[in-house]
């Protein structure tokens, strides 16, 4: 823990620096390119993000041992590294979807906001200090509130933005209260120092339990876990589709990153408390999400409820509290990123063409655009956990971790839910494949690129597991010492 | 030639199948080609059987012309065939009747090709039963023969063929289920299906290490009855006979000939080949019951035949009556084991099988001849046919007399032997059987009277005389009936040696 100047410290935040620079560039270009921004700004953002991802891989790789930097504000470890890549990928694809999206691409701020929230997420995943963490969360959230309500002409969008803001603000406040409790107990804001203090066992378990509860509330909002999920369906439906996709993937992943880090680092001694809490939340999320998804007629609402349920599956991995479970959750998030982005991407295409996101609008898609149908097939089946798509391995890992840690009931709950979920995924698939055809829908080149990247991601994660599982494992290992 | 002599049985067995397969490639509208193909294909096994008969050494014990080849090695079942005197007689009967039945079928006009193919496959099925020296193989052929017969009845049969064929099939399959289970049980216990091994070991089995919860004796008794019921249905023994009148009546003429001539023998053969050697103790215990069933078959068969007004049904019931004597002889042997009387009874039974094959085939054929012309089989509709068809009349009279057991014709010899052999062993049953014999005379004479004699029904004034082809069919049968009646030694010699060796 050295406060001295060390160039490697700046290398470690090179991606974040890159994001700030890129955000600035977009702002400037927005002013310069009045008429061309719709076409080029998105590409530049996406390209820039790809470069940043390259920089992150090349220069910002953590060493074998986690390292606290900037006075313990950040922790240079594999968790941060992997999640940063998740966010960068998510932002890249989202930026590509925004190109040719009339509501979004005409305003350059869209990309700036997107980049700033990505920056926030990136810092969330690496924060090792409560203050840093809270700042990062807010840096992430505030741009997202704006993005959700980005299309001010559209009442739904505005409503989504406000709803998101209200919910977010409230849960942030509760979380902050939890943080203050923690500081009160420990006298430090250093996450990794707190664990040792709690381990000494001088603080009343009731108080600890309460602080766990409060802290978790804020994260549960981010991951849209029950009972802090209420915002999700309305926001997803109302927000611009690419933003909804971004919210459901990158933002959720960020929430999981901090949830896992805080739980494992601050409360390693209180596993029995938070495991139960997380398991209950997982169960509730899965059941509620899946059962409500069954009834949806709008695909964005359906995907919203599905994403609540997906959070539940990922929570199974967290609830196991084991290395395998955490690795599973990370892998799941990785796969889920591509999967849900593709799903929302296809919705984006349909919405652009027919101005509707009702499931009915998908009827006959396979006769119009067989490739889009296949993409949706891959996305839906990946969500359903069917090989050879990414979701299969993620599910296998989290269910496996539940069994490994002796929580067979949780795996069985997961299975029951997988069945319910498969029902509505397949129903959508049926609509896509049945029905009369017509003229193919237009798919802009940037969307094509984004969708292909997504599909490749789904397939690669669904077939070639080893390297990505290796990352997930490292991410899990660097969070905590599992014993 | 060497190949032929070493694989004689296999050739006899599979030449019909090979011919049937080749027939698939013949054009289906060249009806005459198909008919002659089938006829010649059935003559070859007959010729080979004559060769077999010539080469067969009656004095030699055990099975001859045996062949063994790997078949279902995993279960220790092999393709093992061979003949002794009993089976040789049956093989002869089968290969003899087949060409005649096919010749009879020359009047089939519809779908000749499948008909002939089925007939040839049927021959393989029946021959296989008589030749098999492996229990599993036996069962395979036992069941396989059902399929062509089912289709022959169902496709070329009379008005009520659907009902009759289904009944025939389900009855026989149902009857075989017990046999199947018992065979499985034996296979599990002994670990082999080879009959020579089983004859040796199965009767000696004293402990069965299966979770049956029953004593060995009980298990064996149940298995015994499983065998008996399967064979009794086929014979058929009262009260398992109800499929027979329907099937025989509805089958096409040639089908009835084979059904009565050969298929029924399969059941009786099963008794001789399997039940008696495998279950000597149980057979002895239950011989009385068997004799009772046999007598019931004799008497009820005759009475039922007497009550019929359908000519074909009458002949069908007569089969039950005649086969009853076979079973009576078997029951006697079961009770007495290896005594001279029992040997005589079994000799009679085997010869009765052969004789009934001849006469029943002949009778069904002659019924078919008149049916083809009159399109009715109602005895009350006939009358005075003799005046229109004297040749037919005399042939019918001759065959009926053979069936009735007139001395000098074959039926007498065998029935006499059965009764002679059974009398000292089962006196009451034999005496009752004699009463049945009386009824036999009654129904046959009734039929003859109603068909041939009396005033001519004017409807039949234009009936054609029996044709040359038809005479060609009945002649060999008639010659044999007379031949065995006058000089039975040629065939009894073969049978007797085998019987003496076995019982």
């Amino acid at each position: 823990m050295s406060a001295q100047f060390d160039p490697s410290m700046y290398l470690a935040i090179l991606p974040e620096i890159g994001l700030i620079v890129l955000a600035a560039i977009t702002l400037v270009l927005d002013l310069v390119w009045q008429d061309r921004r719709c076409r080029y700004l998105g590409w530049i953002t996406a390209g820039g993000l790809a470069v940043i991802a390259g920089l992150a891989v090349a220069f910002a790789r953590p060493g074998p041992d986690p390292l606290l930097i900037f006075g313990g504000m950040l922790r240079l470890d594999d968790t941060g590294f992997v999640f940063r890549l998740i966010f960068l990928f998510g932002a890249t694809i989202t930026a590509l979807f925004a190109v040719d999206n009339e509501g979004l691409c005409n305003k350059g701020e869209f990309y700036t906001l997107l980049l700033v929230s990505t920056l926030g997420m990136s810092l969330m995943a690496s924060s090792a200090d409560l203050i840093m963490l809270f700042l990062a969360i807010e840096t992430t959230s505030i741009p997202l509130y704006v993005l959700a309500g980005f299309i001010i002409r559209d009442q739904n969008s505005v409503e989504a933005g406000i709803k998101y803001l209200l919910f977010g603000a409230m849960t942030s406040a509760i979380s902050l209260y939890g943080f203050s409790l923690l500081y009160g107990f420990c006298g430090t804001t250093q996450i990794y120092a707190m664990g040792e203090i709690f381990a000494n066992g001088q603080i009343s378990p009731v108080l600890i339990g309460m602080s766990i509860l409060l802290v978790v509330v804020g994260f549960a909002f981010k991951i849209s876990g029950v009972p802090f999920h209420f915002w999700a369906p309305d926001v997803y439906q109302g927000a611009p589709t690419p933003v909804a996709g971004y919210l459901s993937t990158a933002s959720k992943a960020a929430g999981f990153a901090v949830l896992m880090r805080v739980l494992l680092a601050v409360f390693p001694g209180q596993t029995d408390v938070w495991i139960l809490l997380v398991a209950i939340m997982a169960t509730a999320s899965m059941f509620l999400g899946n059962l409500l998804a069954l009834a949806q007629k709008n695909i964005k609402r359906m995907l919203a409820y599905s994403s609540i349920a997906q959070a539940g599956y990922i929570l199974i991995g967290v609830a196991s509290g084991t290395e395998l479970g955490i690795s599973g959750s990370v892998y799941y998030l990785l796969g889920y990123l591509f999967t849900n982005l593709v799903a929302f991407g296809v919705v984006n295409v349909i919405e652009d063409a027919v101005e509707s996101s009702e499931i009915k609008a998908f009827s006959g898609l396979s006769r119009r655009n067989p490739m889009l149908a296949l993409l949706m097939l891959a996305a839906l089946l990946s969500l359903g956990g069917i090989p050879p798509f990414a979701g299969f391995f993620g599910k296998l890992l989290v269910f496996g971790s539940a069994i490994e840690s002796g929580q067979v009931w949780l795996a069985i709950v997961g299975i029951i839910n997988s069945m319910i979920a498969l029902y509505y995924y397949l129903t959508v698939l049926r609509v896509i494949y049945q029905g009369e055809g017509g003229a193919p829908y237009w798919v802009s080149p940037s969307w094509q690129v984004a969708l292909v990247i997504g599909l490749v991601g789904i397939l690669v994660l669904g077939v070639v597991f080893a390297p990505f599982f290796g990352w997930s494992q490292q991410a899990a290992q660097s969070l905590s010492l599992f014993n | 030639m060497d190949f032929i002599s070493t694989h004689l049985l296999t050739l006899i067995l599979f030449i019909p199948t090979a011919a049937a397969l080749l027939m698939l490639f013949l054009p289906k509208d060249r009806v005459n080609l198909l008919r002659w193909w089938a006829f010649i294909a059935s003559l070859i096994p007959f010729a080979l059987t004559l060769l077999l008969w010539g080469k067969f050494v009656p004095a030699q014990s055990g099975f001859q012309f045996t062949e063994q080849a790997a078949w279902y090695g995993v279960l220790n079942a092999s393709y093992h065939v061979g003949v002794d005197g009993i089976s040789l007689t049956m093989v002869l009967l089968t290969t003899l009747l087949m060409p005649l039945a096919i010749l009879t079928s020359f009047n089939i006009k519809e779908r000749v090709k499948p008909y002939m193919i089925l007939f040839l496959l049927l021959e393989t099925g029946m021959l296989g039963v008589f030749m098999a020296l492996d229990l599993l193989l036996f069962f395979v052929f036992w069941e396989v023969g059902l399929v062509p017969m089912y289709f022959l009845i169902a496709q070329w049969g009379g008005a009520n063929r659907n009902y009759a064929s289904l009944k025939f099939m389900l009855y026989t399959i149902g009857g075989s289920l017990g046999l199947l289970l018992a065979i499985q049980l034996i296979g599990v216990v002994v670990g082999s299906f080879d009959l020579l091994v089983l004859f040796d070991k199965w009767p000696q089995v004293t402990a069965i290490s299966l979770p049956l919860g029953l004593s060995v004796a009980t298990v064996k008794a149940i298995a015994f009855w499983a065998f008996v019921i399967a064979f009794a249905i086929k014979v058929p023994v009262w009260p398992f006979h109800t499929w027979l009148p329907d099937a025989h009546t509805e089958a096409p003429t040639a089908g009835s000939m084979i059904l009565a001539g050969v298929l029924l023998k399969l059941g009786a053969y099963g008794f001789l080949r399997l039940v008696l050697p495998l279950y000597p103790v149980e057979a002895k215990t239950f011989a009385g019951a068997l004799a009772f069933l046999a007598v019931a078959a004799i008497i009820f068969g005759a009475l039922a035949a007497w009550g019929q007004t359908d000519f074909k049904r009458l002949v069908a019931y007569s089969s039950i009556n005649h086969m009853g004597f076979v079973v009576l002889g078997i029951a006697a042997a079961a009770l007495a084991g290896n005594t001279p009387d029992a040997v005589i009874a079994v000799n009679g039974a085997v010869l009765q099988m052969f004789n009934h094959g001849l006469s029943a085939a002949g009778m069904f054929f002659l019924v078919g001849v008149i049916y083809d012309r009159a399109h009715t089989r109602d005895l009350n509709d006939f009358g005075g046919i003799w005046t229109r068809m004297p040749v037919y009349g005399s042939l019918l009279l001759f065959t009926a007399m053979a069936s009735l057991g007139l001395p000098g014709l074959n039926g007498f010899v065998s029935e006499f032997l059965v009764i002679r052999g059974s009398w000292p062993i089962l006196d009451l049953a034999t005496a009752l059987g004699m009463i049945g014999l009386f009824f036999t005379g009654a129904y046959i004479l009734k039929a003859l009277k109603l068909v041939l004699h009396g005033p001519l029904n004017e409807r039949w004034a234009k009936l054609n005389e029996i044709s040359t082809r038809e005479i060609l069919v009945i002649t060999p049968l008639a010659v044999l009936m007379l031949g065995i009646g006058v000089w039975p030694a040629w065939i009894l010699n073969v049978i007797n040696r085998a019987v003496q060796m076995w019982f």
């Binding site: 067979v408 299975i415 698939l429 597991f465 080893a466 | 149902g174």
Partner: protein, 489 residues
């Protein structure tokens, strides 16, 4: 380095399927030709696997192994034993004939044949898998082709309901098994999915008894075990012809095969503990399935329920846990696969021409389509367990096995045989013989491709029926290994 024949078998259809999806949709004949070419190649390769399997040597052959996820002990590990080799052949046969009888598919043939290829890859992958993870991977690969093929090309009235029912049933089944498989993985302490290694993991008795039902039941659902069979008739009836063939002919075997491979072979003591329960359920399958088949009025439902009945015999064979029973079960899997493929293909041929499957509205079709009728009759005889056909060869040892395990089951289950005989004979007579209804007087004969398919399948059943040594010794060699596991554990 030997030729990686199993990998080629598994990935050839997968790659063909992907290639097909990228072909122009209007080149229908080309798409069909490519599919037929691939299917022929699959048949050829599967026949090579079958015939070049060294029975004398036994064990797992054609082994290939590659690391997949070493951190978790997952590898790409394929090989076949004496039980799997006939299954591979079965899959090849049904794929080939399935493509042949699907030549008439005119609605989106590209997707149809591509999905069919995926399904083929899935089943071949399961039969070849020696790695538990890989087995599940390929097992679940079949989910979406199954579902989509039923709801897209199935019979319009019931396809949505039946397709969903079938898919969910099977998915739940596989997930339940997955839980059991994961328990095996963690419980073994070996951290490997390698099934050969897991065979000798030495699980405790309590563990085996606890987890066997999970693994078995999950796969058992796919093989139609009572009372979880109802997806099978519904699904098979609603599916298009080729998929009915693949589902009933191969997929149900996949379930049974996996139940044997994972549940019985990895948890033998558990199997012994639960074998009585399985016997009871499977016996209900046999008898009850046959009774229900007897009262169906829809041609295809008769066959659908007959599968339930016959698969019961396979499970009975497994549950005997002795040599004869297992040999019989292996043979029955093959025999029933070929038989039911033949059945469904003929049902499809009839339906395509008559446009009805109501038995009451059919009749006299022998004259119109003799080859199809012949095929159906052969299938019927196999189904009845008639000697001389493969069904007998399979059922006989099963019953021999049952005698040693539970004689009363033999006596009850044999009832299924006579009921089967009844419904088969009735269906054959009502559909193919008797009067030809007015409306059907001008229907045509089946195509030459249909004939090739029918004759091929029929000929195989007869060949195996007459020469059991074509297949029985191979299965026996596989059973040797299983018995060693049963005895050694």
């Amino acid at each position: 380095m030997q030729f990686p024949i199993l990998s080629v078998l598994i990935f050839l259809p997968l790659i063909t399927g992907i290639v097909l999806l990228f072909m122009p949709a209007e080149r229908k004949t080309l798409i069909k030709s490519i599919s037929l070419g691939t299917a022929s190649l699959i048949l050829l390769l599967s026949a090579i696997v079958f015939f070049s399997y060294n029975v004398a040597a036994g064990g797992y052959q054609f082994i290939e192994k590659a690391a997949w996820v070493p951190a978790l002990g997952i590898s790409y590990y394929v090989g076949v034993d004496g039980i799997a080799a006939p299954m591979v052949l079965l899959a090849g046969l049904v794929m080939f004939t399935g493509v042949l009888v699907s030549w008439g598919v005119d609605d989106r043939p590209r997707e149809f044949f591509a999905f069919m290829m995926f399904l083929g890859s899935s089943v071949l992958g399961v039969f070849g898998a020696l790695d538990l993870f890989m087995l599940f991977f390929f097992f679940e690969l079949a989910v979406f082709p199954k579902y989509l093929m039923i709801v897209l090309w199935g019979s319009p009235k019931t396809r949505n309901y039946s397709g969903m029912k079938l898919t969910l049933y099977l998915f739940v089944g596989s997930m339940i098994s997955l839980v059991g498989a994961l328990a095996i993985y963690f419980g073994s302490g070996l951290r490997t999915f390698d099934m050969i290694a897991l065979e000798s993991a030495g699980f405790s008795l309590v563990f085996q008894r606890l987890w066997f039902p999970f693994v078995f039941l999950g796969f058992g659902i796919l093989s139609g075990i009572f009372p979880f069979y109802s997806w099978a008739p519904d699904g098979h009836v609603a599916a298009p012809t080729a998929i009915s063939m693949l589902l009933a002919g191969v997929e149900m075997k996949v379930g049974a095969f996996a139940a044997l491979r994972v549940a019985f072979m990895l948890l033998p003591d558990g199997a012994r503990y639960w074998s009585t329960a399985i016997l009871v359920l499977a016996t209900i399958n046999v008898v009850y399935g046959a009774f229900i088949a007897l009262i169906q009025t829809d041609f295809k439902y008769v066959i659908g329920f007959s599968s339930v009945s016959h698969m019961g015999l396979v499970l009975i064979g497994f549950a005997t846990m002795n040599r004869q029973g297992l040999i019989g079960a292996g043979l029955q899997m093959f025999s029933h696969g070929v038989m039911t493929a033949l059945f469904f293909s003929v049902v499809g041929m009839v339906y395509d021409r008559a446009h009805t499957r109501e038995i009451a509205q059919l009749g006299g079709l022998f004259r119109k389509m003799p080859v199809a009728a012949f095929g159906f009759i052969v299938g019927g005889l196999v189904s009845m367990g008639m000697p001389g056909f493969s069904g007998f060869i399979a059922e006989f040892p099963i019953f021999m096995g049952v005698w040693q395990a539970a004689p009363v089951v033999a006596v009850i289950a044999i009832l299924g045989v006579i009921i089967t005989a009844a419904y088969i004979l009735l269906v054959v007579r009502r559909v193919f013989f008797g009067e030809l209804p007015e409306g059907l007087s001008n229907i045509g004969d089946v195509t030459i491709k249909d004939k090739i398919s029918t004759v091929l399948l029929a000929a195989i059943m007869i060949a195996v029926g007459i020469f059991p040594s074509l297949m029985a010794p191979m299965i026996s060699s596989g059973v040797d290994h299983i018995l060693a596991l049963f005895g050694g554990a």
